[in-house]
């Protein structure tokens, strides 16, 4: 909880500053946009959080987003598949990718970094191959399907703000993920093996199966993210769609309190982390006149955030120790 507190405080500070600097920050339209973007990135970040909890890493997320994001319109618009068929296909594909990663990592004991780095290169390459580097998109069709990402649900008492549909996905994913991680035995197994794989194995836990599951969750949510991303923007270019998203997802998870050494993570924290990144980018476009230093600012804020967090933690520890010693 303490970890979530720090990052939440940072998010709050950034929001307050932006709201003061730009009166439009709190407009319904902007909040809707922010909520939708946070939802999209939050979903893929939750996925990678599961892998991080096991002490692994998934660098292939951006490429899975690309593969699904390009694959779906390619199947639907270019090849005329039915909607259920195409969606089922990309879903199975995402699951299969996770399974593939998990098997290589557990059965062949290959390092996750290497396996998923190859995935990063491979899946985007495949997407570029089958689309022949052409942009794929839905054009003016598939409006109903696209409601999954573009739809909004009005709230009776707040005029001007409706809940974007991806937020519903995020909430469902987050609740299921949080319950899974904290209240079920499988979540506990993940936490245990993330810290001490041997101890978990000696306790009779099938650690391989759990690790595979984590990679499947990660790829599946990356696939869901890719689907929602492409439904939202309506088209995808295989060369850059989802580029660097793995880094944003990992950054959100780590900001939200996941330890890359494994064994630690909270779902709420991950969502707050994802929101922070989106608010920062939003702030830069709303408040400043130049967006080319956007990444510099994000980097600096995250860095200052974790430094401040660490210093506060130390200060508190010293205070406690003094209180005790005195």
């Amino acid at each position: 909880m303490r970890k979530v507190l720090g990052i939440s405080a940072l998010l709050l500070v950034v929001c307050v500053i932006t709201a003061i600097a730009s009166p439009n920050f709190l407009s319904g339209y902007n909040l809707e946009n922010l909520v939708r973007r946070t939802a999209l990135f939050g979903i893929i970040s939750i996925g990678v959080a599961f892998v991080i909890v096991t002490g692994g890493i998934d660098l292939s997320i951006g490429s899975v987003v690309c593969l699904v994001g390009c694959g779906l319109p390619w199947l639907l618009a270019t090849h005329g598949w039915s909607i259920p068929g195409a969606v089922a296909f990309v879903a199975v594909l995402s699951l299969a990718i996770g399974l593939f990663h998990g098997l290589l990592i557990t059965k062949l004991k290959l390092p996750p970094f290497v396996v998923t780095l190859c995935g990063l290169l491979l899946y985007r390459g495949i997407a570029r191959g089958f689309t022949n580097d052409q942009t794929v998109g839905f054009g003016a069709e598939f409006k109903t399907l696209r409601l999954l990402a573009t739809g909004k649900i009005g709230i009776p008492f707040i005029p001007g703000f409706s809940i974007p549909a991806p937020w519903i996905f995020l909430i469902v994913v987050a609740i299921v993920a949080a319950v899974f991680l904290n209240r079920t035995i499988y979540g506990r197994y993940l936490l245990a093996l993330g810290r001490n794989e041997e101890a978990a194995r000696y306790s009779g836990i099938n650690t391989d199966r759990m690790v595979i599951l984590a990679y499947i969750i990660s790829s599946a949510l990356a696939g869901l993210g890719g689907l929602l991303f492409v439904l939202d923007v309506n088209s995808a270019q295989p060369v850059d769609f989802g580029n660097f998203y793995e880094l944003y997802a990992i950054a959100a998870a780590v900001l939200g309190g996941c330890s890359l050494r494994g064994g630690e993570g909270t779902i709420v924290g991950v969502i707050v982390g994802a929101a922070l990144m989106q608010v920062l980018r939003n702030m830069i476009t709303l408040v400043t006149n130049r967006n080319n230093i956007e990444f510099a600012i994000i980097g600096a804020v995250i860095l200052l955030g974790v430094i401040a967090d660490e210093l506060v933690k130390r200060f508190a520890a010293r205070r406690r120790a003094l209180a005790q010693g005195g």
């Binding site: 580097d133 850059d240 080319n292």
Partner: protein
């Protein structure tokens, strides 16, 4: 019809009108345009700024949304994927004045399009190749990416002109195919995703694979300088013809000293300048600036040794930092 959105339709009242110019990526080309944006903004007395998305279409959408949030009186966009972005553009046009530049979205509700025809410009470039190689020969094409609409059309124009095909912008030759005809052999099209080291490697690998290649054509601004680098390191400057696109300093320098046959230049400065000028008028409610065909043509030009000095001097004046 969707429910009317709640975005602030215009920004803070009172101050200057706000105009935004959104590119399709980050490149020197766009920094020249930004100079035009700035100049026109000062002249028209509006707040004009240039925004460049880094991460493709998702990022462009985000920037446009955030601009709408901020409240904007006019926006000029170079759509990355015109067909699929029509809906987004229509949403924008309902909230503010929208024009397209550089790359058009003809099916959208944009007020007008400022730019040139990439296919035509490509053909101009192809003509330069035929000039450089009057007896035909082998040609390799280099380009940053192929999936952008303007890139595709530009490349197709080059190919069609070289092969002497009639004008048909809807042609498409797959990049991996060797195309022969009209005494020419087009060996292929290599992309680099804006990685310069890779772009240079592409030129080098071409020289290794086809030691007798006759002409290299660089279709994105940074390609010709990389080709020149590779050639000079291979001691083949002048032996292999170079035809360029856009106005990188190294390209212009090459034309001056004869190592580059010529280049086709667009006029990004005018894209920026005109966009802001027209949006400023539109924002005031003056619709008379819109031509009947909703197209303001800023044609591409061929620059050869004879015209390069004048062109370069003019460019330097326009992009000189204003104090």
């Amino acid at each position: 019809k969707p429910t009317p959105d709640s975005a602030p339709a215009s920004g803070n009242t009172g101050g200057k009108k706000k105009i935004a110019f959104v590119s399709n990526g980050v490149a020197s080309f766009w920094t020249i345009a930004a100079a035009g944006v700035k100049a026109a903004g000062e002249k028209a007395g509006v707040d004009a700024e240039t925004l460049m998305p880094v991460e493709g279409i998702t990022d462009q959408k985000r920037i446009i949304e955030d601009l709408l949030t901020r409240g904007i009186h006019g926006i000029a966009v170079s759509p990355i994927d015109p067909v699929n972005q029509t809906e987004l553009l229509n949403q924008v046009s309902r909230r503010t004045k929208l024009i397209t530049h550089d790359s058009d979205a003809p099916n959208s509700e944009r007020v007008l399009y400022i730019g040139m025809d990439n296919y035509k410009a490509g053909r101009l470039c192809g003509d330069l190749v035929r000039e450089a190689l009057p007896n035909g020969g082998s040609v390799m094409l280099f380009i940053g990416r192929l999936e952008q609409d303007n890139a595709k059309r530009r490349r197709q124009g080059v190919i069609d002109a070289i092969l002497g095909r009639p004008s048909n912008p809807s042609n498409f030759d797959p990049p991996s195919q060797v195309i022969e005809g009209n005494g020419f052999k087009i060996l292929g099209t290599l992309t680099d995703q804006f990685d310069r080291a890779k772009g240079k490697a592409n030129a080098e690998d071409t020289l290794a694979k086809y030691p007798d290649v006759n002409c290299m054509v660089g279709l994105f601004a940074y390609n010709p300088p990389l080709m020149i680098e590779a050639l000079s390191q291979a001691n083949k400057l002048g032996k292999v013809k170079v035809v360029a696109f856009d106005e990188d300093d190294a390209t212009l320098d090459g034309i001056q000293n004869g190592t580059v046959h010529g280049t086709v230049v667009q006029n990004p400065y005018l894209y920026g300048y005109k966009s802001v000028e027209i949006l400023a008028e539109l924002a005031k409610g003056n619709n008379s600036v819109v031509p009947a065909d909703k197209f303001i043509d800023i044609p591409a030009r061929q620059i050869r040794k004879d015209t390069v000095t004048e062109f370069w001097a003019d460019l330097k004046v326009k992009t000189a930092p204003t104090k």
